[in-house]
Symmetry: C2
Subunit: 189 residues, 2 copies
């Protein structure tokens, strides 16, 4: 039941349409959570029914009308109580880790392919996060922004996302190196 809180958190700083929220949670852009459009719309409907968000219809001319949502007082209270409860730590859960766990029994070439793909993905995503961070802090230096910037929450989560992908990238690089070195060592013997 954390998606509801993730949606609430996303709506805190600005009024967004369901569509915009789905964009924010779409693969590749979400820095602190990920969800599919269907989940987001369903959650928004539930949140509205429970009075945690309020939606208002916005009529548009050259495109479908949309509904903008904002968090209500009750919604904020819900977030407060969510934050006051202990957060359950999550675990790494990646297909690639499973594949590498079995590395000693699988074809090295195939694994190196997977790791190289993931490396590129991680690199791209880290760069994307880095750009978002630059945009958030604007002209200011990071230290200055962290002290006096308006909203640091999104900045901090984005930084975590960036560092996560950097760590993924470095791990992929090292793993490839290890697998290659072992293959050569085997070939020599």
């Amino acid at each position: 039941m954390a998606l509801r809180h993730a949606v609430l958190a996303a709506l805190l700083d600005e009024e967004l349409s369901g569509y915009q929220v789905t964009k924010a949670f779409a693969a590749g852009v979400a820095n602190f959570w990920h969800a599919l459009p269907q989940q987001v719309y369903a959650e928004l409907a539930r949140l509205e029914k429970e009075g945690l968000v309020a939606g208002r219809e916005v009529v548009q001319v050259a495109r479908p009308n949309k509904r903008l949502f904002r968090v209500t007082g009750e919604g904020l209270a819900e977030l407060e109580s969510f934050a006051s409860a202990a957060a359950k730590p999550s675990f790494l859960r990646e297909d690639l880790l499973v594949q590498v766990q079995a590395a000693d029994h699988l074809d090295t070439d195939v694994l190196i392919d997977r790791l190289t793909e993931r490396y590129a993905f991680a690199e791209a995503k880290a760069a994307l996060f880095e750009e978002q961070l630059r945009a958030m802090r604007g002209e200011r230096g990071e230290a200055e922004f962290l002290l006096h910037g308006a909203r640091v929450g999104p900045y901090l989560t984005c930084r975590r996302g960036r560092d996560f992908e950097r760590a993924n990238r470095d791990w992929c690089r090292d793993a490839v190196e290890v697998l290659r070195a072992r293959r050569e060592a085997r070939a020599d013997s």
Copy 2:
């Protein structure tokens, strides 16, 4: 459908009982995947029915009998085909990230409590992984082990787990620092 492959990967290096597999996947010990006992047992049953693992009854004297499982040739083939398909990258999905995303609208003290808890947890888990790594490489230095050790797959995934928790720890520390500094800056003004 990755749990099945995670279970297969766990059974590759040694014959294990369902109970032992559940222990390996239990919270806090799993380095590359996490699952509850019920899921593991259910998955093992399915895998056996499909012939990907083979179980054998082991009669014990002072404790309940157990069934040891090993991966069959078909199981290994399944893993191969799993590895040959592109792995879908995962996302960070942590309650704490959601809470920090909303940091600017929530009580700072509460958040610092959460971050401090997570810091301690991450530190403990990183230490645990570090110990496992030491045990795996034994007397050898890391470079030596990575080149000539028998099984590097589990070592590499464990290292990813350790680095992940270290990153969590560092992020928590930095976030607390930022929140404290901002509170003081607010108090001064």
